[in-house]
């Protein structure tokens, strides 16, 4: 028995004193700093260079010209105003639909409610350009399929309308509906995991159903809903597929389209200086919103009603109304996926596009599919695609898990910074991030290989994974990990053997989400595109803009169908393994 004075005070060698937790935190921070901060710094520098300077950035002359030009131009303010209208409008539409869906699925006896989540996930599969095209085919004034049908049914002899996607309202509606499904994925847990006892307590205190809703349910859900709302405003400021396809004709230019076009050689030599300047504006807005977002989530977490215990939610019996409700919920997916998909299938069966008619029916053939399958270029891009969509989700979610773990579990100074860093890509439009990486890496061998896309996606989709996994980890009791430590396991072992398996359902859902987004995203592949790193999304985009709409449609249909099948199979398998914990 040693007294304190006699105790051996052996300082272990510096190597054995290295704390794995430090290695994890600082290592992750370094990876993030290099991949997030460096490109952004380059971006800032480029925005301060003369307009015509082409990266890489070697010169030393700096100027505020780009900013002067930008802020002197009244168009800039119009862009900002349109962006605000569009982002808030489509978020609001999506939120209302998403909340209703989540409530129906989480709290009522909606028929077939188990089918909703897979549908929502599958609906990610459709690339934005493709959805937008579907909508144009459905809703353009003269030949839009919906318009033809409506005019036919009402016996109207007008030759345009009544719908017109080429308007701000049309754009907001189309985007809002497209968002509803993915907002549902974020919102559903708040509804599913809310302890019904909280509501029951209100009811037994004599509050009516409406009173309970107003005084208990909504206040409890509000922080969660607010979080999702802010998150989506951030996303909507950046989305450009719909505004590009619809907004240009509609005369509603927005910020993201401006940045996109400035980086598109189609529209002239890339103007890096101005693009960077607009990118900085977009990023500034993004960062402000991100700040709001992080603040709101902090409030929401402090206020957590979600305890993660296994509740048996008491579902409200909708009675007869459950059928109209099911029509509503699945109708949204119908509008989001089925209609555009049908439009695409139709387009893919014709050698040149024709409106839906009996005459056109005779032109139907599978030639487009034959040439898609026969195309060597497309076959070659498959390998890159496989590489991309297996590695990017895996790396992204693993990194997200590390960040989430560090920020929720490791008590070290600066850990909060890690989370902010990991969320930065959320504030930065994909286009901006991509452009920043492009100009940073242009002289390296990574440029031109599929790796640059993999890195882009890994970082670009990080925030979602972090959000998902930190939420999941917050629900894992701290002692489950501490028991690992007192059993003598190293932090990494605990992460691997205890934490990861426990959050596996969230991990898997996140993986699928990134997978679906990675396979359909063309922002990064396009910015970095060379013949060697072509992926399916690039092929679709190329066919689309060539334009070879029939083949583009055929390839899109194949992609969407494959993705749906894949998501379905994965989830089926996963449910078998985890006994239904994968929601």
């Amino acid at each position: 028995m040693a007294t304190v004075a006699q105790a051996r005070r052996t300082r272990r060698s510096w190597l054995s004193r290295i704390d794995q937790r430090h290695v994890i935190v600082y290592g992750t921070a370094l990876v993030l700093a290099v991949t997030v901060v460096v490109p952004l710094a380059v971006m800032v520098i480029i925005s301060l260079r003369p307009t015509e300077a082409i990266p890489p950035i070697t010169g030393t002359d700096f100027t505020l010209d780009n900013y002067r030009t930008t802020f002197a131009d009244p168009v800039t303010y119009r862009l900002l105003w349109n962006t605000a209208l569009y982002a808030l409008g489509s978020m609001a539409v999506g939120l209302v639909l998403g909340v209703l869906m989540s409530w129906f699925v989480g709290r009522t006896n909606l028929p077939f409610r188990n089918g909703v989540y897979p549908m929502a996930l599958a609906s990610f599969a459709m690339p934005g350009v493709v959805t937008a095209f579907g909508w144009i085919v459905l809703g353009r004034p003269r030949t839009g399929i919906l318009n033809t049908i409506i005019r036919g049914m009402t016996g109207s002899d007008a030759n345009t309308g009544p719908l017109n996607v080429f308007t701000l309202e049309g754009m907001i509606l189309v985007t809002g509906v497209a968002l509803a499904g993915s907002m549902f994925i974020f919102l559903a847990p708040y509804f599913q995991r809310m302890d019904p006892a909280l509501e029951e307590a209100a009811t037994t205190s004599g509050a009516g159903r409406l009173g309970t809703l107003r005084h208990v349910s909504i206040p409890l859900l509000f922080p969660g809903i607010l979080t999702v709302a802010v998150y989506y405003v951030v996303i909507m400021v950046q989305i450009f597929e719909f505004p590009l396809a619809i907004g240009v004709t509609a005369g509603v230019p927005v910020l993201s389209v401006r940045v996109f076009l400035l980086t598109q050689p189609e529209f002239g030599l890339i103007n890096y200086g101005l693009a960077a300047t607009f990118a900085m504006i977009a990023m500034f807005i993004g960062l402000v919103l991100l700040g709001v977002y992080l603040w709101v989530t902090r409030q929401a977490e402090r206020y957590q009603v979600i305890t993660g215990k296994g509740y048996r939610p008491n579902r409200m019996d909708l009675g007869f109304w459950k059928w109209p409700a099911a029509v509503f919920v699945f109708g949204i997916f119908g509008i989001k996926i089925i209609l555009p998909l049908l439009a695409l299938i139709w387009a893919s069966l014709l050698l040149y596009f024709q409106p839906l008619s009996m005459d056109a029916l005779s032109l139907v053939s599978l030639d487009n599919y034959r040439s898609v399958f026969g195309s060597e270029r497309i076959r070659n891009s498959l390998l890159n695609t496989v590489l991309l969509v297996t590695l990017a989700p895996t790396l992204s979610i693993l990194l997200a898990a590390l960040v989430a773990w560090a920020s929720t579990r490791i008590k070290l100074r600066g850990v909060r910074m890690l989370e902010v860093l990991a969320f930065m890509p959320l504030a930065i439009p994909g286009i901006v991030m991509g452009l920043a990486m492009l100009v940073t890496l242009i002289r390296t061998p990574i440029w031109g290989s599929v790796w640059i896309i993999i890195i882009g996606h890994t970082i670009g989709f990080l925030p979602f994974g972090v959000r998902l996994l930190s939420a999941a980890m917050l629900q894992i009791g701290r002692e489950l990990e501490e028991a690992g430590s007192t059993s003598g396991a190293t932090p990494l072992t605990i992460f691997r053997v205890v934490m990861l398996p426990l959050v596996l359902p969230a991990f898997l859902n996140g993986w699928l989400w990134v997978f679906a987004h990675s396979i359909r995203d063309f922002t990064y592949p396009l910015l970095f595109s060379t013949p060697d790193n072509a992926v399916l999304a690039t092929q679709i985009w190329e066919l689309w803009t060539t334009p070879d709409i029939p083949k583009g449609s055929a390839l899109s249909v194949l992609l969407v169908v494959f993705l749906m099948a894949f998501v379905f199979v994965i989830r089926k398998t996963a449910t078998r393994f985890f006994g239904g914990t994968v929601t």
Binding site: V4, R8, R9, R11, G477, S485, T486, T493
Partner: protein, 367 residues
């Protein structure tokens, strides 16, 4: 075996810093069962977690066996997973994604003391036998009752044969019956294995029945340390007296302090009572006189040779199975007494109380 010296720990919280542990020191001898007892929030868990390496103290030293595992001055902070300990958590912390076997095997498979597969199997089986769960090895952990989960947690802690076993309120989630059984089992296990044990609880019965030594904590400090008997019979403060059992506290004033050698006399308003008056308390000082209900005798009429008698009016009696808990109103004071035989009084009866002088202790009081 374990020495904790001047340990301090402050948490940062949204409401500002919380001084959870404010400089505590204690030593546990090899093979002893040592308990930290105190009300919720007094810093017991924090102390334990500092020993386990789950929290980093602000200052102080922690020595396990021969090795300092934490010493601020020497710049030593051995990570929790490198300390030769095992811990049982209040929530059991059984991993729901593993079977019982895998849970118990974890320290041997992924921990400090890794051993070959066959050895793992042998030792896990042995540990499961110790807690009588050998038949449940292949069961997924979530399919166990609370008591069984608790045993798994114990088996997991024992399997690595730690030098020091840490237990944080391991029994508080069990129902009363089970708790009593487990108390006995745990104690006999630690004795059989000659384990040095640091035990945390807020339950005085657990502490008194299991421990070799008890440290009573309040607000981040140890207020008294001693054997269970010492703590119970000679609490250093009314707070401790109250905490380790039921006690009557009567306000009074010292008439004669007995100079610390012989019994003194305290006037409690309703009469003068002979009691032990600790040193440093002088005549006329205000005191609280404490006496436990089991040392109060209630009777009607006169009883020859009775000392320290107060008279009052019988108020109520509750039957608690093995005895009666009675309340007698003496002036403006309500005194508790424990009666072992059937109560024959009715409410409102005039009764006398004898307060056993050997068990009356006076504590200094602030007016």
């Amino acid at each position: 075996m374990l020495t904790v010296e001047k340990l301090r720990k402050t948490y940062e919280s949204d409401q500002g810093p919380v001084e959870a542990v404010r400089g505590i020191s204690f030593t546990i001898e090899e093979g002893r069962f040592y308990t930290l007892l105190g009300p919720s929030g007094c810093g017991k868990s924090t102390t334990l977690r500092c020993v386990a390496g789950l929290e980093r103290p602000d200052s102080g030293e922690i020595v396990i066996g021969e090795d300092a595992v934490y010493s601020r001055d020497a710049g030593i902070d051995v990570p929790g997973n490198k300390r030769d300990i095992a811990m049982v958590f209040q929530s059991y912390a059984i991993w729901p994604h593993m079977t019982v076997f895998d849970n118990v095997a974890f320290p041997l498979a992924h921990g400090r003391a890794r051993v070959p597969k066959a050895e793992v199997r042998r030792r896990v089986t042995e540990a499961l036998e110790m807690v009588q769960l050998e038949s449940m090895a292949t069961r997924p952990a979530p399919y166990l009752s609370g008591g069984q989960q608790q045993r798994v947690a114990v088996a997991r802690a024992l399997v690595s044969r730690p030098r020091l076993l840490l237990l944080d309120e391991p029994l508080s989630n069990l129902d009363a019956r089970l708790r009593e059984d487990m108390r006995r089992e745990l104690r006999s296990l630690t004795m059989r294995l000659n384990l040095t044990t640091l035990y945390v609880t807020h339950d005085q019965v657990e502490a008194l029945s299991m421990s070799d030594r008890i440290a009573v904590m309040r607000q981040g400090l140890i207020v008294q340390e001693g054997s269970p008997v010492e703590i119970y019979a000679h609490p250093a403060e009314p707070f401790i007296a109250q905490f380790v059992g039921k006690v009557n506290l009567l306000k009074g004033r010292v008439v004669n302090n007995g100079n610390g050698t012989e019994p003194g006399l305290v006037d409690v308003g309703a009469g003068g009572l002979t009691c032990f008056v600790p040193e440093g308390i002088g005549a006329n000082d205000p005191v609280l006189l404490s006496i436990r209900p089991e040392h109060v005798v209630v009777y009607a009429g006169e009883r020859p040779g009775a000392t320290n008698v107060l008279s009052g009016r019988f108020q109520s009696a509750f039957y608690v199975g093995d005895s009666w808990e009675c309340v007698v109103q003496v002036g403006d004071m309500a005194l508790q007494a424990r009666l072992n035989e059937a109560v024959t009084f009715s409410i409102g009866d005039e009764v006398n109380l004898e307060l056993a002088p050997d068990h009356c202790v006076a504590f200094r009081s602030e007016e």
